[in-house]
Symmetry: C2
Subunit: 124 residues, 2 copies
DNA sequence: CAGTTATCTAACCAACTGGTTTCCAATAGG
DNA sequence: CCTATTGGAAACCAGTTGGTTAGATAACTG
């Protein structure tokens, strides 16, 4: 190799779906989203159930925001967060492509081969 | 504080669902899973589409394995990976709980106000 | 203007991630 | 036994994550 071994794979610049999955890969953030199903809430309200400082809550909300899962508003001093479920639909849609595999029994290899017909590429 | 701020929140010891979401938060790994819908494959086969060394592929497979998304076997020197879609079902199930929110229209501010308006101050 | 409330920014830290290169273990075959 | 093939393990590096504390910003209140 002519070049030195340099930083190749930072996890930073991810595609949209990866951002959503990464945002969901934290129980605190998932709980926050569940909380937001009851309606918009302020940072203090969202963070209340967790033993966590304000900035920590704020950071989690930012991750959710960058993933498109919440939007922020402004009401007086508060910046209420509102659930945006569209990315969740994409998650469900992507997972659904594997439905046949969790519904089927794989005792037989025959089944497995017969169901494999065609499918476009992964679109990340 | 008298004590130093140590070991607060490593991302390591996560719950099962978080492990699954984290595993899916990488386009390479999602592509690997898509590849495995066509049937079990060896490490070399799985890594072939990616410009990546063997150990890197191996690491990705390990992440998928820890998340329960693939199982490994042994055939001669090869250790074929097989898709296990059960965790995917849980992902779909979790996301589905938000269905009403991505089906609903939220153009109305009424919903938003109805949850916040404990004391309807007029502010305009 | 000063103070309170609500939230964010900045700087810092330890642990994890995702890649690399190098080396090791197990299996098939002459 | 020796060798080639297939894959994993160890050590390393740069960048991200998730938390902290301390200070800044914005809007309401007096």
């Amino acid at each position: 190799m002519s070049s030195v071994a340099l930083g190749q794979g930072p996890a930073g610049a991810r595609d949209p779906l990866s951002l959503v999955f990464a945002a969901l890969a934290d129980p605190t953030r998932r709980a926050m989203l569940t909380r937001l199903r009851r309606g918009p809430a302020t940072v203090a309200e969202i963070g209340e159930p967790f033993d966590m400082t304000g900035p920590a809550v704020s950071k989690h909300l930012r991750v959710l925001e960058r993933a498109g899962l919440v939007s922020r508003g402004r009401v007086a001093q508060s910046r209420p967060a509102t659930l945006q479920a569209e990315p969740m639909r994409q998650v469900a849609e992507w997972a659904e492509e594997f439905r046949e595999f969790w519904e089927k029994r794989y005792d037989r290899l025959d089944d497995y081969l017969s169901t494999m017909a065609d499918d476009p590429e992964d679109r990340a």
